[in-house]
């Protein structure tokens, strides 16, 4: 058996080199398809992340008049917490808010140059029991005279969520479609390498080679196409994505880009494994079809 394995590997490499152009086409096709595939995966993951970030901010931001004193604010906090549907009220003083804001953005913007004094009012952050109660609570709160503004993003969140859901479903459908297209292309590309060796195959069969024996070198070749295509596409996507992340995070510092190493590694691995599977399956289908038409 060992001598067989060695023989299959040698045969696969021999065929790989002999059909250099074909190998190049097959690897190129797999690489391009997988890059598109990976781009969609990244897009979906990022959209999910946006939604996650936005949803976690499902609370009511209540801004009060700038000249409200701390005592008045304390009384207001009690009043707010009595409104039906409100779970918790957090008070953020203007000084606190200003400090947080500066801390968050000082590396990106020099605030002291733009603003000489604290522009922020006191803020209450209201945790609402369920998202549906948001508009009701918001209405109630806005009736209180000292409140200058009530902000919540309930509707926006719902809209974004349905948009993301649509993109996600569309993305999954597209990913399936792309996988299928890749498979078809690989099947046909490997078919050419198989057909180019039809004489060899018929001679192999005449001297008593089993179908399995004939298939192995082609399958190994297909896996080789897939692995190389997978590695290349993962590398291309990694470089491209890192460049994009760098741009986005400097241009849109608020935008929550996925840069979780674990998640990204997972996506790259999915691409490499996907490429391998497509190569394997493509070669298998192709060589089986040629063998079937032979007999």
């Amino acid at each position: 058996m060992f001598s067989n394995v060695e023989f299959f590997l040698v045969e696969a490499l021999r065929s790989f080199r002999r059909g250099a152009l074909m190998s190049f086409v097959a690897i190129g096709t797999i690489t391009v398809s997988l890059v598109i595939f990976g781009m969609f995966l990244l897009l979906i993951v990022n959209l999910g992340n946006v939604i996650g970030t936005v949803s976690s901010k499902m609370d009511l931001a209540v801004y009060v008049d700038k000249d409200l004193s701390l005592e008045e604010a304390g009384a207001l906090q009690v009043q707010l917490s009595k409104i039906a549907g409100v779970e918790r009220v957090d008070f953020i003083s203007r000084a606190e808010a200003w400090r947080d804001f500066q801390k968050e953005f000082s590396s990106k913007l020099d605030l002291s140059q733009i603003l000489s004094e604290n522009p922020l009012p006191h803020t209450f952050s209201l945790k609402i029991r369920t998202p549906e109660l948001l508009p009701l609570v918001a209405k109630e709160v806005s009736r209180i005279p000292v409140i200058s503004e009530v902000r919540y993003s309930g509707q926006l969140i719902a809209q974004i969520k349905s948009l993301v859901d649509a993109v996600r479903i569309g993305g999954v459908a597209l990913v399936i479609l792309i996988s299928f297209a890749t498979l078809l292309i690989v099947v046909n590309t490997v078919r050419f390498t198989v057909l180019a060796r039809e004489t060899d195959i018929s001679i192999m069969k005449l001297v008593g080679a089993t179908d399995t024996f004939v298939k192995w070198p082609f399958i190994i070749e297909g896996v080789l196409f897939g692995v190389i295509g997978g590695l290349l596409s993962a590398l291309i996507l990694k470089i491209a994505y890192e460049a994009v992340v760098l741009r986005v995070s400097s241009a849109l510092p608020f935008f929550p880009v996925v840069s979780n190493k674990f998640m990204l590694t997972f996506i790259y691995l999915v691409m490499i494994i996907g490429g391998t599977l497509v190569g394997l399956l493509g070669a298998y289908i192709s060589v089986s079809r040629v063998l079937k038409s032979e007999v």
Partner: protein, 226 residues
């Protein structure tokens, strides 16, 4: 060893090649199958190594009805039948050694066995010195010797040769037939399809003549024609 019972063949396009052929070839016989081109010689041989299946009748090789054989068993049948072709069918990008070794590789034989058996086969056909040559570096006779070496390297009990001298000059043809005769004397059943009259007449072996898909003569110690 080989028995054909009421074998007929009609191709899908409606052309009849063989009608009701009955044959019985014993162990270690040397048989010529003669007849004009298109008489059905090649088809007859293809039945035996299951490259074709008869439309009706039985083809029994070594007690097995080959026509009924499950496709998954065909490779094992072929390992017991050496086949020599008019066009040699050598793999062009492999040396003589690799071509002959190929027939053993497919059986999964260990490397050391392969080496030993290939050398023996090449020695038998007189090609040991050409082991590392590629097919395009060989003369027609040498190619046919390489093809014969590949056919016998597994020590099959049956050797089929379809027009083995079809592309060779008379002297080389004679050498090849002598080689087949030598293999026959090593206890191998040999069938040679040919329309080389001189060789058949000189060898004085059993002759089966086909004409228009029928056996018209089956004669021991026969000649090419009556």
């Amino acid at each position: 060893m080989i028995e054909l019972i009421n074998v007929s063949k009609t191709y899908a396009n409606g052309i009849d090649v063989l009608f009701n052929v009955n044959l019985n070839i014993g162990k270690e016989e040397f048989v010529f199958i003669v007849g004009p081109s298109g008489a059905g010689k090649t088809t007859l041989m293809k039945f035996m190594y299951r490259d074709e299946v008869p439309s009706s009748g039985k083809v029994i090789v070594d007690r097995i009805d080959v026509a009924q054989l499950d496709p998954s068993h065909v490779p094992y049948l072929r390992r017991n039948i050496g086949v020599v072709f008019q066009d040699y069918k050598l793999l062009p990008r492999r040396t003589v050694f690799e071509n002959v070794a190929f027939a053993l590789r497919v059986t999964g034989a260990p490397r050391s066995t392969i080496r030993r058996k290939v050398m023996q086969a090449l020695e038998l056909v007189g090609m040991l010195s050409r082991a590392n040559a590629f097919p395009d570096e060989l003369s027609g006779g040498e190619k046919q010797r390489a093809c014969i070496a590949r056919a016998i390297v597994n020590n099959p009990p049956i050797l089929l040769a379809d027009e083995p001298t079809g592309n060779l000059d008379p002297t080389t043809s004679w050498d090849i037939i002598q080689l087949l005769d030598k293999i026959n004397r090593r206890n191998t059943t040999v069938l040679v399809a040919t329309h080389n009259k001189n060789i058949v007449d000189d060898m004085k072996r059993r002759v089966i003549a086909l004409e228009n898909g029928r056996v018209v003569r089956d004669q021991l110690l026969g000649g090419y024609s009556v």
